[in-house]
Symmetry: C2
Subunit: 195 residues, 2 copies
DNA sequence: TCAATAATGTTATGTTATAACATTATATTT
DNA sequence: AAATATAATGTTATAACATAACATTATTGA
């Protein structure tokens, strides 16, 4: 009877997003869209996010205090962007004690600075970043039906944007790219009910 | 003495934006970036915008009422996105009489519906569209120093976005693409003052 | 002219975000 | 361990952005 060596455990975040390597005609893509719109073991997403947050904070010498951690956890409760005032309500419910806007906005600012969350400008809301720490410029696919949003970092888009900016002599520094539409699930339902 | 036929007058909006035809490796580009960031005869932009607005309204059977026209004119006062409350103040000053939020927001909604203006989500503000009526999906290059924004419609970006959405099985309907950085002018000044 | 529709006026309120200053907790130095 | 500096949080107040709901007036079209 032969024993195979135990397979090395997948780092939790390797489950949460996929990296498509570049090949002919296909730029590299990193995205969590496989997970964001479908049934999945979301606890793994949460754990991965919190673990990565701790790593990023350690690396940057920043403190993931209880209120910051609580806000991040709430943001990671699902894959839907959440607004600051919804966070305030949830935190108030959790704490038993009234939480005020500056408390939440400070936590949000901290998490934004570290790249642990992103702001979805078109919704005035916030979503966790599945791959913080790794340089990427973002694009969000936001479903108008279920509210879920997936993040994609696609070299092709970044280079197209860079080319457009360069053509205009514009020096790009940051970007907000948000696509509104229907996720695979919701699109399926929409086309089914419209014969 | 020979008389040359008079040159046909340029339609005013042909001055306000440029169209780069597609050729090998270069997708078609429509943009007002040449004008937006530089000294120019802005009256021509304003006139072109108002003329196009009248055309679009006629074509769509919509009424460009005085308050709608006033709001559009104010938005076209320059190439910087302007917020609803700044519009309210300017309108109040113009009218002598207090203008209230719903008045302005209704005009904004009307102009948005017709595609005569766009909303810059990351700034909660509004900017005139240089090429309404012609189908285009938008990208804005917003200067963080002078506040000017140019609009670009580049086939390359649209196709890259479409490919990314398709890869995720996402059905895209609308988009908000906003690049923040420095326009040519402001970038020049920034690099000059930092030796 | 009448009726229907579209646009505007008006009051009130909802939602998102930040300024300013006081207090408390943590880290650093001695 | 005490003193100091720095970072984080608490608290009050308000700024900035946006819409709901209903009354009134203008325009269109029969």
């Amino acid at each position: 009877m032969s024993l195979r060596p135990p397979r090395r455990a997948l780092a939790p975040w390797n489950y949460c997003y996929t990296i498509t390597p570049p090949f002919a005609g296909r730029p590299q893509v990193i995205t969590n869209s496989k997970v964001a719109y479908h049934e999945h073991d979301h606890a793994r997403c949460e754990h991965a996010a919190m673990a990565q947050a701790r790593n990023v904070c350690r690396a940057r010498g920043a403190r993931l205090t209880p209120s910051r951690e609580a806000v991040l956890q709430l943001i990671w409760q699902n894959h839907k962007p959440i607004g600051a005032y919804a966070l305030i309500e949830k935190l108030t419910a959790l704490n038993g004690k009234r939480v005020l806007p500056p408390t939440v906005y400070r936590a949000i600012d901290f998490l934004l600075d570290l790249g642990l969350i992103h702001r979805i400008a078109s919704l005035n809301s916030f979503i966790g970043c599945p791959f913080p720490g790794s340089a990427h410029s973002d694009l969000f696919l936001v479903c108008r039906a279920c509210g879920s949003a997936a993040e994609c970092s696609a070299e092709g888009i970044n280079s197209a944007i860079a080319a457009t900016a360069a053509r205009a002599g514009f020096s790009a520094e940051s970007q907000s790219v948000e696509i509104l539409g229907l996720c695979p699930q919701c699109n399926l339902q929409a086309t089914e009910s419209t014969p």
